[in-house]
């Protein structure tokens, strides 16, 4: 059972996570596998005495799978990853590879699928990566195949680049009924930059709509990859899997034998285990590492003792030593993933490598939002939850923030929108927190009159108009791939979002790549949803930061009964201020219950009112009769009314229901 639980984990890798302190909403039924992280840490870790054993001539592939911990010569190691767009079948293919190599039994696979994590299953995406060591025998020669999984989303492109750097080759999986998508493209280019051998695989050839020839041609045209011997497979039906395994062995070069050099191991993932501290996944690039070695992380200079090392196959199994070319994990009583960052280099304390591996970078949050507990009592719980998530997610940043409308909460920074949504959902699902989430914002650079430049991600902290000379905002270059039918609507969308047209290329006769540069702030809302809906789901996109540019930005304030509501302040482009102001005031008027007096609701830039609504006073709220002295029902109603008031936030003298804030924040996400 423990093996089963851990097996799929290792592959589809569910991003490692801390166990939720409370019951999750979709807690597994009793008797089912326990939630993953716990299972992982509780899994009995097999102990294998690893000597450089001679290659055993296993009778069958499946039997070979059972010997997967045995060492093979470095020339027989293949490290690879799978590049695929969402839904193009990466997970299914990985499952099949594990199954066919006997790494995981078929029975276990199924169980694993059921135990898949809610969030990922719903979104059909793999957020974080892990690895699996497989043994495959070809021509009576045993090979060690290490699959290193990659996240498929642009928010995690740094993580992707690090896991690519741990490989010598990649399977490029493209849905034969769909074609190449923008994200795939971005990751293929990353792989090519890392000099990876790329093996094109056309998946889902069993589908009636599959056009492997067309898609092969598309890959050749777009990426310039020879597709003459592209493998045609159906991971679901198990077609072409052996061919893939053979191609991995024949096409991907083995790692260089640098096991005599000083140790350099590249961390491509790490997660926090509440019982053992951080578990780091790494690929030994040079040298070798033994259990008990005193090691050093080169980016932060911290030293540890490798208490435990092992391989992922796919559950963690301890070994004594790992050599150059091998992939494994280590545990060294590390407190937080921030101390074992992806991209960092592990070396020996006593025999340090001359230089760290290239490519390390710190996480820089791109998108910010405020998170406030609906129930003020949950503030501490929210802090604890964020701290726990941070143990596992070095890119998550947060600091306390308070607001008159929402009380105490946190301003949080994320790598991108998906990252933000994932964190929000995990807080709500796994920690049972009810949150108000402010409109996401980006980091503005304010050039002040005194020559100073201030970075500001919180509209309420924007320097006064008199103190600032100009505001700059981050711009992104966005590449959208779309069937040609949707070019019009997509360009319209980009124009609406203050996009600056750069280029359009027909990558095939029927598909175009459109490139725009637009403010990141315009993208953090519902841009992606809009792109999807305007292209009936066919378009895909990819973006990268291109730097800061000065924009005509203003701070839009909302005043309720002449009281400014900081939480609702936003930074908008001057041209959009009027329509946004109108939409916000109208929404508030709809949602704020009438009070005992007239309430003006205004949107202002500075002191200038640009949109105004008025909530008329309640005319009448009276219960007339106490039938036969029965006051209980009346009292109940009044108590209910009093309870309702308690749930509201007082803005000056006005009671504003939480829902009004939430709806407006949602609206801000939509209209901004």
């Amino acid at each position: 059972m423990a093996t089963a639980t851990a097996s799929r984990l290792a592959v589809l890798a569910q991003r490692p996570l801390t166990p939720a302190p409370r019951r999750r909403r979709n807690a597994p039924a009793p008797g089912r596998a326990p939630s993953r992280p716990r299972a992982l840490s509780a899994a009995p870790r097999g102990r294998v005495l690893c000597l450089a054993a001679p290659a055993s001539a296993a009778a069958s592939t499946t039997d070979a799978g059972q010997d997967r911990l045995q060492k093979v010569p470095i020339s027989n190691i293949r490290n690879f990853c799978i590049i695929a767009h969402i839904d193009h079948g990466k997970s299914t293919l990985a499952d099949k590879l594990l199954e066919l190599t006997g790494t995981v039994q078929k029975r276990e696979m199924k169980e694993q699928f059921l135990d898949n994590m809610d969030l990922e299953r719903e979104r059909g995406i793999t957020i974080k990566l892990q690895a699996a060591r497989m043994r495959y025998v070809m021509n009576k020669e045993p090979y060690c195949l290490n699959l290193i999984d990659t996240p498929g989303h642009v928010d995690f492109s740094y993580e992707v680049s690090r896991s690519l750097a741990a490989c010598e080759g990649a399977l490029l999986v493209v849905d034969a009924s769909q074609g190449v998508e923008a994200q795939t493209l971005a990751n293929v280019y990353l792989a090519l930059e890392n000099n990876l051998e790329i093996i094109p695989v056309l998946n889902k050839i069993d589908l009636p709509g599959a056009e492997p020839d067309r898609v092969a041609q598309e890959i050749e045209e777009i990426i310039g990859l020879d597709c003459s011997d592209a493998i045609r497979c159906s991971a679901k039906e198990g077609i072409g899997i052996t061919e893939i395994l053979d191609a991995l062995v024949t096409k991907i070069p083995p790692p260089k034998d640098t096991s005599k050099d000083p140790l350099r191991a590249l961390i491509f993932d790490s997660y926090y285990d509440p019982y053992r501290g951080v578990i780091a996944y790494f690929r030994v690039i040079d040298g070798s590492i033994k259990k008990g070695d005193k090691i050093c992380f080169m980016a932060n200079g911290k030293e540890y003792v490798a208490d435990e090392i092992g391989v992922l196959s796919p559950n963690q199994m301890q070994v004594d030593e790992l050599y150059a070319g091998e992939v494994g994990y280590l545990s060294a009583s590390i407190r937080s993933v921030a101390d074992a960052r992806v991209g960092d280099t592990i070396t020996h304390y006593s025999k340090k490598a001359a230089a760290a591996l290239p490519g390390y970078s710190e996480a820089t949050p791109m998108v910010f939002c405020g998170l406030f507990p609906i129930d003020a009592d949950q503030f501490e719980e929210l802090r604890e939850a964020l701290e726990k998530l941070q143990l596992n997610d070095a890119a998550l940043k947060f600091e306390p923030e308070s607001s008159s409308a929402m009380g105490f909460g946190f301003r949080c920074g994320f790598l991108g929108l998906l990252h933000m949504e994932i964190v929000q959902e995990r807080l709500e699902r796994e920690y049972n927190l009810n949150l108000i989430i402010t409109a996401p914002s980006v980091v503005y650079r304010v050039n002040c009159a005194d020559g100073e430049t201030v970075e500001c991600s919180n509209p309420s902290l924007l320097p006064e108009p008199g103190k600032r000379r100009s505001i700059e905002e981050p711009y992104v270059k966005i590449e959208m791939l779309t069937p040609k039918d949707y070019i019009g609507p997509i360009m319209e969308l980009a124009q609406d979002r203050r996009g600056e047209f750069k280029e359009m290329i027909f990558i095939t006769e029927s598909r175009a790549k459109i490139i725009y540069e637009l403010p990141l702030a315009e993208m953090v809302g519902d841009f992606f949803d809009q792109l999807k809906s305007r292209s009936k789901g066919y378009a895909s996109m990819e973006y990268s930061l291109v730097g800061y540019r000065e924009s005509q930005l203003v701070k839009l304030d909302i005043q309720i009964n002449a009281e400014p509501v900081e939480a609702l302040s936003t930074i908008v482009h001057r041209d959009k201020a009027y329509s946004v102001g109108r939409a916000l005031t109208q929404k508030l008027k709809e949602l704020i219950p009438r009070q005992m007096f007239k309430v003006p609701i205004q949107a202002c830039i500075g002191t200038k009112v640009i949109a105004s609504e008025a909530l008329s006073a309640i005319r009448k709220d009276v219960l007339s009769k106490c039938y036969g002295g029965d006051i209980t029902r009346k009292k109940k109603l009044l108590k209910k009314q009093a309870e309702g008031k308690k749930r509201m936030k007082a803005i000056g003298r006005v009671d504003v229901p939480q829902e009004a804030f939430m709806a407006v924040l949602k609206l801000e996400k939509e209209v901004l």
Partner: protein, 506 residues
């Protein structure tokens, strides 16, 4: 046999305070003291009976029979149909057995109810409410009164009220009722427009209204009667409302009750009905899912046509207040007006948070600090009476806490023109609570929804109120009472009272 009826007291040795309450319950203390203080100025209520506080001196009797259910009514009633009582009867007609059976049950309840104290505090008020009590033959009303007299005693000149509907009585019947001791009539006129009466499902028309008013005003020995009106009926216009008020004033009742229509769920006005209809034609085949027709019928929404808008209906309230005041009526409670001295004593029991007995289907009593509502279904009520007789019914003794008592006091006293006695309130529930209440109300004193008054019940400028508040040490040195203003404060009473609830139970 009756010992278990009120376990709070009955289980204990006489005269010892119940051990679960270390101190005398403050509500009663409040109520007792309130009775002693509210009567000192022009607009004061008639001097309340000076009785020991724990003994109820009022009794409510529920007579649930109606000819049919009105469209706005969600009360426990028994609809008799048009056969019974439509023709004003002198009692020669055989009494409806349902009424007789019910009154029998009622008498059993009276007999099984133990007086709260043995020191013979008589009843000062009796109120026959309904339903349509005027459908009950006078001799049966007399029987109930006799039973009450026998069990609890009746004072020398008690107020005995009965609700009567036009078309259910004649002069003789009224005379008979007055003969057995009824001395106050509450006439359920509701409107003076044929269309409105019909559309709200009343069992009478305008002609019966005028006839009934004639009978009541002509009845010798009946000086005290109330006209009941409902405002904000469907399709009611301002002109209609003015007309009803004019007719009311012309009829010269001593008391007027004006109820704003409340749309209650489960009534014809408020219903939301979802009905599954069988397929119109054909058989239901075994393997063929029958087509299901769904009928959804929605009731009225307050403020939405055909009901008057909020603005209109607030206006109706203001017009009533204006017209009736002009005609010499005091607006002494949110929905009650009276000529000086003709306040409904029975209802004052409620507003002053004093205890009262109650008998009959669905009725609510307030005895020994406990409010209890009887079952609303006849069968369950009958079973309950049986248990009461057997001594097997005991009221779960919910210890009503201070907060609830403070809420009762605020909610009830702010309904009246006398308002809330701040000193009494702070004595009973603490100075800090009284202070925070005043602080919460401060903006409304300023805006005029709430009026601060001195000991002589003279309205004070809001600045005096604020000064008094700053002087925390002796709150109430100047401000003695606060009340809701008429009509604006009354109109927003729910808002203001629920604000106070929020202060009492944060």
């Amino acid at each position: 046999m009756l010992r278990l009826a009120f376990p709070l007291v009955s289980h204990l040795p006489a005269r010892k305070p119940p051990p679960i309450r270390p101190r005398p319950p403050p509500a009663r203390r409040y109520a007792a003291s309130a009775t002693a203080t509210v009567s000192s100025s022009t607009s004061s209520p008639p001097s309340p009976p000076s009785l020991p506080p724990l003994s109820p001196s009022s009794a409510y009797v529920h007579l649930p029979f109606c000819r049919k259910r009105c469209h706005y009514c969600d009360f426990p009633i028994v609809a008799l149909g048009s056969s019974s009582g439509t023709a004003p009867s002198r009692g020669e007609v055989a009494d409806d057995p349902r009424i007789v059976d019910y009154v029998r049950l009622l008498l059993r309840e009276v007999a099984a109810t133990r007086p709260v104290s043995d020191d013979g505090v008589p009843l000062e008020t009796v109120f026959f409410g309904g339903g349509t009590p005027s459908l009950v033959p006078p001799r049966l009303v007399a029987a109930v009164l006799d039973a009450l007299r026998g069990r609890f005693g009746l004072s020398a000149c008690p107020e005995v009220s009965i609700e009567m509907d036009p078309g259910t009585f004649d002069a003789a019947k009224l005379r008979e009722l007055v003969g057995v001791g009824v001395n106050r009539v509450s006439l359920g006129v509701q409107a003076f427009q044929e269309d409105l009466l019909r559309s709200c499902g009343r069992a009478h028309g305008v002609e019966e209204v005028h006839e009934a008013v004639g009978i009541v005003t002509a009845c010798e020995g009946l000086q005290n009667w109330s006209m009941d009106l409902i405002s904000s009926l469907p399709n009611q216009t301002e002109e209609m409302w003015e007309e009803s008020l004019r007719c009311t004033v012309d009829a010269r009742p001593t008391h007027v009750s004006v109820y704003d229509l409340q749309i209650e769920q489960g009534t014809k006005f408020g219903q939301i009905k979802i009905q599954l209809l069988p397929p119109v034609t054909g058989h239901i085949h075994l393997f063929c899912a029958p087509q299901i027709h769904v009928l959804v019928q929605f009731g009225y929404t307050p403020g939405v046509f055909p009901l008057p808008s909020d603005t209109e209906s607030a206006n109706f309230y203001k017009i009533a207040s204006k017209r009736l005041s002009e005609a010499g009526y005091n607006h002494y409670e949110i929905s009650s007006y009276s000529k000086p001295g003709y306040e409904c004593k029975h209802n004052l029991t409620y507003w002053q948070n004093r205890p009262f007995y109650a008998f009959g289907l669905g009725s609510a009593s307030y005895i020994n600090g406990v409010r209890y509502s009887r079952p609303r279904r006849m069968k369950e009520y009958a079973e309950w009476v049986q248990k009461l007789e057997d001594g097997t019914w005991s009221h779960e003794s919910r210890s009503s806490d201070m907060k609830d008592m403070a809420m009762d006091v605020v909610m009830l006293s702010l309904r009246t023109a006398w308002g809330l006695d701040l000193q009494r309130f702070s004595k009973s529930f603490g100075k800090s609570l009284a202070l925070s209440l005043c602080n919460t109300f401060k903006p409304f004193v300023e805006s005029g929804l709430i009026i601060a008054m001195d000991m002589e019940r003279q309205a004070l400028p809001h600045l005096d109120f604020e000064l008094d508040l700053q002087n925390e040490g002796d709150l109430g040195s100047k401000v003695a009472f606060i009340r809701l203003s008429d009509p604006d404060g009354f109109l927003l009473s729910n808002e203001l009272i629920s604000l106070a609830f929020g202060v009492i139970s944060p």
